[in-house]
Symmetry: C3
Subunit: 355 residues, 3 copies
């Protein structure tokens, strides 16, 4: 794919500010790239004014900007929303790939009572058990296994080797990346007569519309009722979601996060990388847990927490700073103690001796 | 499945206390659920007296209790062990699923020298290499790969897409959930002539009877000898067990725990979520490591530890509390210093000036 | 496999010091093992003088040593490099396994435009999409899926159920263990009109020669440009490498490490188990991050850091020690405060009363 800067400006509905007076936007663009790595055929973008200095030295052929900037050598494409234009540009210059082959691959094993919508793609070595339903325009990639009675909605993309156990419900426009597991039995045991006995997990997993699950994730089924991930929530790779967890809408859950059983996560919550959330606690709408935070008690709506254990964000930073000063503080404390001892001694000395 | 409360009481060998004098236990129960989510056709349970208040407002049709309670509207099923009765109830009301199809699926690839017990189930796209042995009543689900000479015992359930490398031994009544890897090469390198050279891993993995392994777990094979997981131990998802680790019996290992090479874990140890255990250390029988604990030195039998680095549990809580008071302490320290300086100054002032 | 100690000494080019004067090195060796577990047919090794006492009580038939030791009962094989001789010995006594079957297994699904080198092995249920290239002597194990245009070099070993997405480049002599995912879409969203919209990931993954990736790992593809792992770098299991991360050569990345987007890791860096690295930061050549370290800002070349947040290693140990003394320090502070109050009071008392 190649487009002139002028053509691109029309596609993006952008105002074109040519690189120079004589330039009519006829330079060719072949890819999208960051400011640093760019050359003349690259379209770059200014998402944040702090990169403005870099842009001025960039060799890119054109740049998406929110408002015209001065002192840059390339053409500018002025748009309302830089991120939206960036996404559109990346889609324009996406590598060309064959779409998933339509229909059911001849090597797939499909039980008798499976229902397909229109225009589905079922890849090689897929195994669909009885009662499975696959919605319109959904692609199940090679090697996926879907258990009895699980239903996948429309416009979904289930990547290679994903395993979905029985009785799970996946909404529309859901993406699940490779090697993830949905609906595994949760970790619930009762200690009876000297052994751990598994508590049967009669419940299910419900994944709502527009959820995207990363690669190598696990979502356990509920003991009873359901484990639920709300519409529009996205998870990175290696995310562990235990039995009976309920996650709200539009959350962002970064890699290696673990959410323990029956925790309740509100809407628009952000859990940064490697966060842990204890069982049975609540995290309110719009709360943010910083990187590696270990949440041991409930977090109110809109709160920002950090640390192990997680406490209010600014307080956590203050505690970290103070902790790092501890060795010095202890030294100062020793000196102060000595000073006080001396004061005490001098006071004692000023008294008449009592034998 | 539906049963009357009366029928259920007989199945659970429970004493039935009807909801009211005129009630003969003829209400129908169709599912098991938590106290909060219950309706008239739901059986619930009182595992802990702290939920008694909730039970009193619950709309469930019946409740499993350890002893009769007053002030509740539903029928009570009095049993010796609430958890055991709960498990039995969940089994009674489990969703009906077809059992794994008997025999070897026609798409499976089975090398010539594979031995099967009676009543095995080998799913689609399973690959069994030479020398593999599968015990009676064991089900290997779709997409599993089992390497040369590995032996799986009786009554096991190996879920979809599990990979078991060569020469591993899996006992009886073992469950391994989807996408787990058993017997991968451990992480052992020697730096020789400017490069990291892999130390060959001639050892094996031994998983004893009644072990249950979660989804997306890894158990590495030993350099020499074996990596071993003791009978009755259960692991949650995403658990990493490195080469030559030896885990005792009946341990509980929660999600995202990592156990480094050659660590030795005793019997009945509990490692809570996201715990890390250093290489070559020992954790004694019955020890507990709290959530996220990072164990850098050996832990004695029965000890409870927590924190990073992990220290004795109550001490860790005390240290956390003190750490969070640090900003205030530093402020107090400043004031105290000023006070002492003033005292010193006033003392100096009371002396004659020395020039 | 069995060899006499004499034969082994020739294979290892070692100087043989017989167990006793009359011993001609005719004892048989059948395996390699640690000092503790050894019997007469076992070859053991002394990698570190701190195990010398154990060696003296060991029952092994022979021992690899860097220089002759006294007071041991077994034959000694004196070599220049104990680790190199250990590796060679482990290769000699490795369990005998059939090599991967040559050619393309009849159940594999291979798109028309796939190119194979000589002597490749493509296992059962492998799916290779159009444009895939597999180099000479490379083995792709059962259940792997390789996306469009991805190229795998020579002498690689891709283990069962690995998923490699489109347009990725894997060098020569690369090992990727089971259930790992290479080239998944990274976690990059822009919040537009009330929803998180995925930023398309047009970039790729490049894995250089001699890289080894553990089981159940994830390497995300880049937004633009590439995610790159440098030659000779090794990762343990469950390692998360986010989009646009660049890792240098010969790094050691232990289990459960997470490296966030666009982080830049130098050459010969060691990231110990469960380490986290923030996005967009740099870790210099030769730096070491200790177990569980959480790196929130860039780390210079050769630095060693530890803790949450990670700080200089020795300082981190000092801070840990001080933190654990905090409860006592606070107690001492209280006493000192009381002492100062008393001093103040006594000073006040020595003044005339002012009413």
């Amino acid at each position: 794919m190649e487009l002139t800067v002028k053509e691109l400006s029309l596609r993006l509905k952008a105002e074109l500010i040519p690189a120079s007076a004589g330039n009519s936007g006829c330079g060719l663009i072949r890819s999208v790239g960051p400011i640093g790595a760019a050359d003349q055929t690259t379209l770059t973008f200014l998402a944040d004014d702090k990169h403005l200095a870099d842009l001025k030295s960039s060799r890119a052929g054109a740049c998406i900007v929110a408002k015209a900037v001065t002192g840059v050598a390339m053409s500018q494409l002025v748009v309302k929303n830089v991120n939206a234009a960036l996404i559109e540009s990346l889609e324009i210059f996406a590598p060309k790939l064959q779409p998933p082959a339509p229909g059911v691959h001849k090597t797939a094993v499909v039980a008798p009572k499976v229902k397909f919508g229109t225009n589905v793609s079922i890849g090689p070595f897929v195994f669909l058990e009885d009662g499975v339903e696959i919605g319109d325009n959904t692609a199940i990639a090679a090697g996926c296994k879907i258990g009895q009675n699980s239903r996948i909605g429309e416009n979904c993309r289930i990547d290679c080797n994903v395993v979905i156990y029985h009785n799970c419900t996946i909404g529309n426009s859901v993406v699940i990346q490779a090697n993830s597991t949905i609906g595994s039995t949760g970790f619930g045991y009762a200690f009876i007569d000297g052994a751990h006995r598994l508590i049967p997990h009669n419940g299910v997993v419900v994944i709502e519309d527009f959820v995207e699950i990363g690669a190598n994730c696990c979502v356990d089924r509920a003991k009873f009722g359901e484990t639920r991930i709300g519409a529009g929530t996205k998870t990175d790779n290696f995310v562990q979601i235990a039995h009976n967890v309920v996650i709200g809408k539009c959350c962002i859950i970064v890699a290696q996060v673990g959410i323990a059983g029956s925790a309740k996560i509100g809407d628009s919550v952000v859990l940064a990388g490697q966060v842990g959330v204890s069982d049975n606690i609540e995290i309110g709408d719009g709360a943010i847990v910083g990187a590696r935070g270990c949440v041991l008690k409930s977090v109110g709506p809109g709160m920002q927490v950090l640390g192990y254990p997680a406490i209010e964000f600014k307080e956590a930073l203050r505690v970290w700073a103070c902790t790092q000063r501890l060795p010095k503080l202890i030294e100062q404390f020793r000196k102060l103690s000595a000073k006080v001892d001396k004061l005490e001694a001098s006071k004692d000395n000023s008294k008449p001796d009592v034998d």
